[in-house]
């Protein structure tokens, strides 16, 4: 069952669609939860809560905010970080992507690129980042530290944290884009 069909049938309360959803994304969801929590039992709880949340709120899924895969990863990561940091429902700013044009086509393109990227190549792109940029990215994304907490942990001012986060993502994007182009021409 393809993601489009899964989300449509989930919206109609189809348990078969839920089963397809779980079989398709549970490994990724569990892996994300373990990466954040480093605890199998807690990760299981988070994955269970997340999939049940998806089951209950499939109608709230918005295609313009990314793929089903990304949506599930975001739910799992946010819940895992809330659990890790004991902060339920922390208010996070979400970019207003619905105001942007060509969103869908870019997402699709990027999904294809992502599918093409081997895990090892993505790891390499991350490893090519300067250490302080990679650490900033990891502390933010996988540990959920605020910019101030990252600054405290790395003994740098707030402005440096912001700058490193920007440079890390820009460089990662550039590296991956460069590889995408080189694969297409090779």
């Amino acid at each position: 069952m393809e993601p489009d069909s899964i989300i449509e049938l989930l919206g109609r309360g189809s348990p078969e669609a839920f089963e397809a959803l779980y079989d398709r994304y549970s490994r990724l969801a569990y892996t994300v939860a373990i990466r954040v929590l480093s605890d199998e039992s807690a990760a299981e709880d988070v994955v269970q809560e997340s999939f049940l949340a998806v089951w209950r709120s499939a109608s709230k899924y918005r295609e313009d905010r990314g793929s089903l895969r990304t949506w599930i990863c975001t739910i799992v990561r946010n819940r895992a970080i809330d659990r890790l940091r004991g902060e339920s429902g922390r208010s996070r700013y979400e970019l207003p992507l619905h105001d942007m044009t060509s969103e869908r086509s870019l997402s699709d393109t990027w999904s294809e690129v992502a599918a093409e990227l081997s895990r090892q190549r993505l790891k390499s792109a991350l490893e090519e980042l300067p250490l302080e940029q990679r650490q900033t990215l990891e502390l933010a994304y996988w540990v959920g530290l605020s910019q101030r907490e990252i600054g405290d942990a790395m003994h740098v001012p707030l402005g440096t944290v912001k700058g490193r986060a920007r440079l890390a993502l820009a460089k990662l994007r550039e590296t991956m884009h460069g590889r995408e182009e080189s694969w297409q021409t090779s």
């Binding site: 109609r12 892996t31 996070r92 700013y93 990227l117 912001k162 920007r166």
Partner: protein, 245 residues
């Protein structure tokens, strides 16, 4: 003032936002900037897509099989799934004219039509080869009754049970679950599913994947917490899977 962010400052906030660490309270200034700045909107898209693939860098791990069983039991036993299963009956009711013009005679005719319709619909939709087996109570749970229905077309079974009451657990103890086991003709029981209770607690259900007819019986035990790899608690019911002929 809201538009005073330059591109670099905006990109820094975009990076934090896409990494999920920009508090909502800091978003207004960025919102205002994005409304008027196409290059930064493009950056926001690019960073969002970059962050979206970060989980792909992880080596995938297999979640425990018990997690799948628990989730499917909960979902298949949920009210929305059951409503969906009853969809054909609801659709039939909708065919009946509603309103004040229905007389007593009309209502009787409608009732008769429903009975005939339901019977016909049941016959028409009953999957070929479907087999049902009664649930047998045990001394540990003497009021339990129910049925297991095997659907060969999907190689799955639906187990529905009533009259089951789990003993209350003392504070600090793990809650009990009802774990369902497939009992092979030889060898050890195999974990198959967990029963999920309906919202009012009157009915319990589970879906068992695979051909249950290859097994001697299905049984259920009370187990602590997330269940056990082998049965350890009291048996609350069993289902003998003897086929006619």
């Amino acid at each position: 003032m809201a538009n005073e962010l330059n591109h670099t400052e905006a990109e820094e906030l975009i990076a934090l936002a896409t990494l999920g660490v920009l508090p909502s309270s800091d978003g207004a200034e960025l919102d205002a900037h994005l409304k008027t700045c196409a290059p930064c909107r493009e950056t926001a898209r690019a960073f969002t897509q970059t962050v979206a693939v970060l989980p792909e860098s992880l080596d995938l791990l297999e979640p425990p099989a018990a997690l799948r069983r628990r989730l499917l039991s909960a979902v298949y036993g949920s009210p929305s799934a059951r409503r969906r299963g009853a969809g054909a009956l609801v659709a039939l009711w909708r065919l009946i004219p509603q309103g004040r013009l229905i007389t007593a005679l009309g209502a009787a005719a409608v009732a008769a039509a429903i009975v005939v319709g339901v019977l016909s619909a049941t016959r028409a939709t009953a999957p070929a080869g479907m087999q049902s087996f009664p649930v047998a109570a045990t001394t540990a749970a003497p009021t339990v009754h129910g049925e297991l229905t095997f659907y060969p077309a999907t190689s799955s079974s639906v187990l529905t049970v009533s009259g089951l009451q789990l003993p209350a657990q003392a504070a600090g103890q793990q809650p009990l679950v009802v774990e369902v086991w497939l009992i092979p003709r030889t060898g050890s029981p195999q974990a198959a599913a967990f029963l999920a209770a309906s919202p009012d607690g009157s009915t319990w259900s589970a879906v068992i994947r695979g051909n249950v007819l290859a097994y001697k019986a299905v049984a259920a035990t009370e187990e602590p917490g997330n269940g056990k790899p082998q049965p350890t608690g009291p048996q609350v019911f069993s289902v003998a899977l003897t086929t006619s002929g």
